[in-house]
Symmetry: C2
Subunit: 433 residues, 2 copies
């Protein structure tokens, strides 16, 4: 099947990320979509020499891309309200599908844009507009489609959450952390959109519309920022068993829809309270499913690109309804399944928690650590309690090692006369990349 051609408008952070992901994962994407996605054109005001655009047609005219008869899908990544709206409407007028990451444009001009797309029979996909790489639009629109949504609450601005996290963890003042966030590139020179909740309100407006089936109404959202939160408030909240988070909250009530962004105390034990730094998370309550939560990076080049490219694949899949264009049962086309072997557990790699019962005698620990050392196993921590008993439990935590080596070591350790019975062994995973 012939490749789909996309035109990328805007080569900033997200544009560059999209280019990288489409290039690096081209085979993986084709294995899934059953069709290659090619970049037919890029429109950018300034060429970034750090980005390899070799062999791709580059223009400074975004509108030329929207008119280009070779382009099937226009990817709008220029941001802002008006020019973006103009670009998207022109692309629709020219019968092109659109993928966008632009929350401001969707929240403010979405009703107009969707009506135009509907009239023209094209799609406007906007997964990347809310919570970056978290597929939250898909989760609500499709995954929870059986539910009447009762309410949703989300940490949907990474900058604000970074500030709130630092204020809590280190007792720092708002202005102080904001300055650091700006230095780190998390916050803009003018931080108003982030810290006053406008960015979050754009996203909340979108989430509420797809949750309840109401038109986009950004102008009716209520926003309150975090600039007035003081270290004392953070401390008193902790004392009371709460944490302060900058949340977007939307609730369906008998009278209507609540749509509000403001600092909120939530119970410390709630998962949302434990979402730290620049991460985003959205908690949703549906009448059938109950509460589900979606967590991940809400911004950044490749996380956002992940959503942009997923949207591209969705559009590609729905261009026709023949079985080849459906989502394949195992995610990848049947002809493109891989024969990667499943490893035997002896070949897998883990850290280990070990607990053994040892005779309380000098030198026992030295024996055990020597055996581990010989197998290349490093010890991270040991607990050995003082005792007057003849036997003592020894607990060790090891670094990552192939299970085969651990099995060999344990056979030798269990053979030591001063180690009694079997060694308890539980694997450890730090859930890090």
């Amino acid at each position: 099947m012939k490749p789909v051609k996309v035109g990328i408008c805007g080569l900033g952070t997200v544009g560059s990320g999209t280019l990288k992901v489409l290039t690096r994962n081209a085979d993986e994407i084709a294995r899934r979509a059953g069709r290659r996605i090619e970049i037919g054109a890029i429109a950018t005001r300034r060429i970034n020499p750090a980005i390899d655009t070799n062999g791709i047609q580059i223009t400074q005219d975004i509108f030329a891309v929207a008119r280009d008869p070779e382009i099937d899908i226009v990817v709008e990544l220029i941001g802002g309200y008006d020019t973006a709206r103009e670009l998207v409407l022109l692309a629709i007028e020219n019968g092109k599908h659109v993928v966008t990451a632009n929350k401001a444009m969707i929240a403010v001009h979405g009703n107009e844009i969707f009506a135009a797309a509907q009239a023209k029979g094209v799609m406007v996909a906007f997964e990347a507009s809310v919570a970056g790489g978290i597929p939250i639009i898909k989760a609500i629109r499709e995954g929870l489609a059986a539910n009447q949504i009762n309410w949703l609450a989300g940490i949907i601005n990474g900058t604000g959450n970074f500030i709130m996290t630092e204020m809590r963890d280190k007792g720092r003042a708002f202005a102080d952390v904001l300055q650091e966030a700006q230095a780190l590139g998390y916050a803009e020179a003018d931080p108003t959109f982030d810290v006053e909740g406008i960015d979050a309100a754009h996203k909340l407006t979108i989430l509420a519309s797809i949750a309840y089936g109401i038109p986009l109404q950004f102008d009716k959202s209520y926003t309150e920022g975090i600039s007035k939160i003081t270290p004392e408030d953070v401390k008193y909240a902790e004392e009371l068993g709460y944490r302060i988070k900058h949340l977007g909250i939307s609730r369906r009530t008998a009278k209507g829809i609540e749509l509000r962004v403001h600092p909120t105390l939530i119970p410390k034990s709630a998962l949302l309270a434990n979402v730290n730094g620049v991460m985003n998370a959205i908690l949703i309550s549906g009448d059938a499913v109950g509460q589900t939560l979606y967590y991940g990076p809400g911004a950044g080049a490749e996380p956002t690109a992940s959503a942009v490219v997923a949207d591209l694949m969705d559009v590609v899949r729905t261009l026709t309804a023949d079985p080849e264009n459906r989502v394949p049962h195992l995610a990848f086309q049947p002809s493109a399944l891989s024969d990667l072997p499943i490893l035997n557990v002896e070949e897998t790699v883990s850290g280990y928690y070990l607990r053994m019962q040892a005779v309380e005698r000098p030198g026992v620990l030295a024996h055990v650590t020597r055996i581990l050392g010989e197998k290349g196993i490093n010890i991270e921590a040991i607990i050995q309690q003082e005792t007057k008993e003849a036997q003592v439990p020894v607990i060790m935590l090891t670094q990552r090692v192939e299970e085969r080596m651990m099995n060999e070591a344990l056979r030798e350790i269990e053979a030591l006369p001063d180690i009694l019975g079997e060694v308890v062994r539980i694997r450890v995973d730090h859930l890090a990349d």
Copy 2:
């Protein structure tokens, strides 16, 4: 457009839940899908008088449903391996799409079933087979489709997680908690599938296949149960900064795919470590997006039905590719948007954290609480520190109240001569239904 007719085979927990959700949310579902979903037939061995099947054709013969020319989609909810496989293959042979919640059947017979479906051009949807109401199959297959998946780790058996949570929270022994789980109906009379990791391995097998594009290979999965975990191990793990969870872990390595279910120590601060009770959660690492996490109820009648019905809607949408059958921009059909008003923030309801600076004089607190009481505002907690200063901060936590009442109360409180300056007010949300 004419309604789609589904035949439900099996009227146990999930079957009953599916019937309830399809009935209760019929309008909401049609508003989203653009087409009504009707129950054309139910096959069940025993009629459950508690369930209203009024007006629906009931049969004891599941195979009759698979042959019924009136039925478009067969929903397999009988569970087990062989009869379910037979039913699904018969439905496919008769050109019907299939929706199933059966992890065991998919993990063991999936390759055969998908090949048959592929040959016949029908779909087999199985979102409900992993992690109940969490749309995890959709998230991986579609939402993260741009990524090369590096690894995933999940709490994908609620019974096991309930047991591990109780052991940690209350220092209880495995056998003791298992007995309670059985009494509560969380664990089967024969708990082997749950506590030995077989159920989790079924689900992990499915997740790994869609993550990496490999055929289903349940027989190569490694499983280790939680029955040997002792209260001491739980305690020592805590001392070392970890919690023990029964995880399904799959990792792509240079040599092949790891596929293993076993007790695992994970850092206390990890979100996965804070997933408690019968809840499920899956953490996924993709090369573009980084880490995302999906959390929710992994079992139960309506949570699982939520996934079954979402699958039904997906199948309905892909029956044709005309714009009406695509996922609508705002999740609901444009003609079915609702005119529910967005409430003014004064009409919204929250709990409140209040902090005020008061002159240290008897009776001040009485004044404040009287004003709150007159507005129907209940106080949940007060912090008032002993001090020798002339002024003292007073912190209060209130129950939920309409914001208008709080605003009125605060105007009166701020007018008190003994309250200095503005009252700091932050909303409180318990994130409960």
